[in-house]
């Protein structure tokens, strides 16, 4: 049952992302070159909606949250590595799956490279543990840092700022 649910939600997510242009190399590189804001706006719009939704669910205790630990140094280094891969391939771990389904063979190769990268990480994982444990602040959120018991009071202004940013500040294109 849960497997079918995953398949159903995934199918809807994949379709929406594909129709939104998330699997397009041109759109992703356009974002990273800061010329075409479509994907950045799509991501920020998603976050604006999801943040309020999740913290509204949390008010009635219905959000199955999964907070990832904040190990500052390891995450910064990971992000720098990820960013290079993002710009070189023009995909991310999810969008190369979407683009593969569209028949783009470079995306299939990125997917394959991803499987090798994940395997490589599994091999060197013991060596990475010191880096992960070095600056680990645990599962912290803006709500816990500012000692706010109902996260919705941060979620609402945060989403409002994002909406102002995407509707009023960011333009679609910069040439």
């Amino acid at each position: 049952m849960k497997l079918l649910l995953g398949l159903a939600i995934g199918t809807a997510i994949g379709a929406v992302m594909q129709l939104g242009g998330a699997s397009s190399y041109r759109k992703i590189l356009g974002s990273l070159l800061l010329k075409d804001m479509t994907i950045i706006k799509l991501i920020l719009m998603t976050i604006a909606v999801t943040t309020v939704g999740i913290y509204a669910l949390d008010l009635v205790d219905m959000a199955n949250m999964d907070i990832k630990p904040t190990y500052v140094l390891g995450i910064i280094i990971a992000g720098l590595i990820f960013g290079v891969g993002f710009a070189i391939s023009g995909y991310c771990p999810g969008t190369c799956v979407l683009a593969s389904a569209e028949g783009k063979t470079d995306a299939m190769v990125t997917l394959l490279g991803g499987l090798v990268g994940a395997a490589l990480y599994a091999v060197v994982y013991p060596l990475m543990l010191p880096l992960i444990n070095l600056t680990n602040f645990g599962k912290i959120t803006l709500a816990s840092v500012f000692n706010v018991s109902n996260g919705i009071w941060i979620a609402l202004p945060f989403s409002a700022i994002l909406l102002v940013l995407i509707f009023r500040v960011l333009k679609d294109r910069y040439e």
Binding site: K2, L3, G6, L7, I9, G10, A12, I13, G14, A15, V16, Q18, L19, G20, G21, R26, K27, L32, L34, T38, K41, I43, L44, M45, T46, I47, A48, T50, T51, G53, I54, N64, I67, T70, G74, I75, G79, L80, G83, G85, A87, S89, C92, C96, L98, A99, A101, K104, D106, V109, T110, G113, G114, L115, V116, Y121, A122, K139, T141, F158
Partner: protein, 178 residues
């Protein structure tokens, strides 16, 4: 223009947000990169079970007698199907002139299929190494993580865009001269 998306970012962002909220209410927030490890674990477990069982990291993703796919893996499979169906229905399946090379890439680097595929492979390798070190990718950290106001996810988002923007600029530096 053939590259303009079918859905605007407003509609796509709203729908995607509602789907992630639904997933969080029913099961858990949305993430993709873990499933690369799950796939590796399944493959290795069926080809070299001893190596799979002895790897500390892979062991976090499989039980001794159950290394099968779960909800998260089916979600990624669904994403593949959903994207394929959407592309077929809107006549965008295999729409590229050259399936291995984006037109924009070809304009910059020329007609070098091998070079593109090497970039795609190395890019994928770096993506998943980075995502696994961070504990998530664009979906798990950027979208689901920031939406839960996770501090580390904000740091990850800033870090990938800093490095992605710098790399993209370096790659497309000579663009105007050609």
């Amino acid at each position: 223009m053939q590259d303009s998306p079918v859905l605007s970012w407003k509609v796509a962002g709203l729908l995607l947000g509602l789907l992630v909220i639904l997933a969080t209410a029913l099961v858990k927030p949305f993430g993709v990169s873990t499933q690369y490890v799950v796939t590796d674990a399944i493959v290795l477990h069926s080809t070299a079970p001893a190596a799979a069982e002895s790897n500390e990291y892979l062991n976090k993703y499989g039980e001794k007698d159950d290394w099968s796919v779960g909800y998260g893996w089916m979600l990624v499979l669904g994403m593949f199907l959903g994207s394929g169906i959407a592309a077929l229905v809107t006549n965008r399946f295999r729409q590229r002139k050259n399936p291995s090379m984006p037109a924009m890439w070809q304009e910059q680097f020329g007609d070098h299929k091998g070079k593109r595929l090497i970039q795609a492979f190395i890019g994928g390798l770096l993506l998943l190494f980075g995502a696994r070190l961070a504990g998530g990718c664009t979906s798990g950290h950027m979208i689901s993580g920031i939406s839960q106001l996770t501090v580390g996810s904000f740091i990850f988002g800033a870090s990938i865009f800093a490095s992605g923007i710098l790399t993209a600029r370096t790659l497309y530096k000579k663009r105007s001269s050609s």
